[in-house]
Symmetry: C2
Subunit: 343 residues, 2 copies
């Protein structure tokens, strides 16, 4: 409804809504409809996202392509680009694609999972353009993005393996969610501009709280590895794509970049061998004994699939501020409110 209002076709609107609902359904609450207003409607209103733009292929050489999204909605640009990567991989066994001039693409796992659903291994990366939010050991200001990584693989009869993670200690959406829920965030997520830990989610939104890389802000706990992973994502999705980059590109109008990769497992192993090996590995992991009081071991994608089954039946719990904002928005569109549909 929202996307239709801003001039998208019904097919485009459905595709964009599918990415957001995937996140809510699978328990990735920080990347679902809660972002509709603060990210997508905001950018559509100020015309930093342009509904009429389409994905234009700039280069094609062997198993790679590069695309210019010309200010498209990232949710649609990344979907189109992953379709292109899958097509390249069907022909060349692997396919790699970059996108420039795009915008926030939602949850990385959605696009990686598209490859898994085609029997391929998929990788989806994005930078944040020239809008860094994260701290690097000793920096006086934010200089890195959350730079997430989505990686997916088919797993035979088990739910697909879907790793969906920011390379910061948490995704920024988790801090916004804590604010909506009226909670503090744990020590270890943010430091202030003197390098001291802070736990007030408002400090992040005000700009005084800096997100820490995966591994923390010390070398002994591997903070340099989290920073390294963030830079890896920046090189592939920012530098290589031609988009804006988190440092040194402050003078540009912001352009977000993505990197999408697909790999056809059937080129590597005959028939069902890969599926059988994945099942043997992951079912051993699921069956591994744990300490008393610990939850059973799981793998990325497995617990999401369980949550999706449950939410498919019982519905998706949304925080009150998200519901209130969406209902206000629905009233401006003359649409039915969530309360009337029932939560």
């Amino acid at each position: 409804m929202t996307f239709l209002r801003y001039g998208f076709s019904s097919e485009q609107a459905a595709a964009a809504a599918d990415v957001l609902l995937y996140a809510d359904l699978h328990g990735l609450d920080s990347h679902g409809v809660c972002n509709l207003l603060p990210i997508y409607v905001k950018a559509l209103s100020d015309r930093s996202i342009l509904p009429s733009s389409t994905l234009r292929r700039v280069r094609k050489k062997g198993a790679i392509s590069t695309f210019d999204a010309s200010g498209m909605l990232g949710l649609l640009a990344a979907k189109g680009a992953m379709e292109a990567a899958i097509e390249l991989a069907a022909e060349h066994s692997v396919g790699a694609v970059t996108v420039m001039n795009s915008s926030h693409f939602g949850t990385a796992g959605y696009f990686a999972r598209m490859a898994a659903q085609s029997g391929m291994i998929g990788l989806a990366l994005t930078n944040l353009g020239n809008r860094p939010v994260g701290y690097a050991q000793g920096s006086r200001r934010a200089i890195i993005g959350t730079n997430p990584l989505g990686f997916a693989s088919p797993a035979g009869d088990l739910p697909s393996f879907v790793l969906d993670m920011s390379t910061t200690v948490v995704a920024s959406g988790k801090i916004k969610l804590a604010k909506d829920l009226g909670e503090e965030v744990p020590v270890g997520w943010m430091v202030n501009q003197s390098g001291q830990p802070v736990t007030d989610p408002n400090s992040y939104l005000e700009g005084s709280g800096l997100l820490v890389p995966l591994g923390g802000w010390q070398r002994s706990t591997g903070g340099h590895k989290g920073l390294g992973l963030s830079l890896l994502v920046e090189v592939l999705s920012g530098v290589l794509s031609g988009a804006s980059v988190s440092l040194g590109f402050e003078d540009e109008q912001n352009s977000i970049g993505h990197f999408l990769f697909a790999l056809d497992v059937s080129a590597f192993l005959e028939g069902s061998i890969f599926a059988e090996r994945m099942e043997r590995f992951l079912s051993s992991l699921l069956g591994e004994p744990v300490f008393e009081g610990h939850e059973a071991l799981t793998y990325p994608g497995h617990s999401d699939a369980k949550i999706a089954l449950e939410r498919g039946v019982h519905g998706i719990p949304l925080p009150a501020p998200t519901v209130a904002a969406l209902n206000w928005h629905a009233s401006t569109l003359g649409a039915v409110s969530l309360a009337e549909i029932g939560q």
Copy 2:
């Protein structure tokens, strides 16, 4: 000398030594000559590494190849496989290669850097076969490998970007190095089999200390992300390659697997554009102000290159137990000891 003694050609011996010396020269002390005796000579002696084996291409389809190393020295198998990936990328813009039946390949960054030296972006992954050493949240025993990741990119006139990291909080070699230096390891590197932190490096070697994933052993600090990255490496280098996998494959003779990937940046961006963008990004990072008392910011590969310059002039400092072991080994070969060459 050692490799020659075990029947390698002089070319093979020089290539293998080059991988180990690269690590020592660049400050990656846990992956250099200190491993010569405990890993390589040990495996050559018990014939779990076979000097006469060669890298056999099993499949080739489009931009991918798969190889069987038949018990080769991992240092040589991974080098040959990265050469194949670079060749594929020269033809198809990207190239992906798996290797099975290999052994410990040393430092992942060495192979990724081979791609950077050919003007490409490179990725090198390895698993540990069915010999897990790492803890997953709640597990009663080691079930994951250190599963390292090497990623490299050319950076114009700056030293190449080379990220070289285990997906555990540290590489296991760092614990062995602490033992040789007679030091405790920091809290946060290991837990015992009741899930409590331990700092004695001997507990790791005795099997009672379990290495923790990057991000620690708690979800709130991102331990599930480190575990996810370890599993990602396991899927590509273990499951996809046909090698042994850390869980569910205990009944096999151990076979280590690698995944090598190369991507030709010139297919994505014209001429020197990529190099200029990398320089603009990384020189901004190097010039970023830091807090008083903090070391200047750096990027992966930059500080290694500085160490290599310094060690190239002043020599490589080795811990006393490594020197003693190598000298004892040299005497068995009738070779000159390190003390005589001068440290």
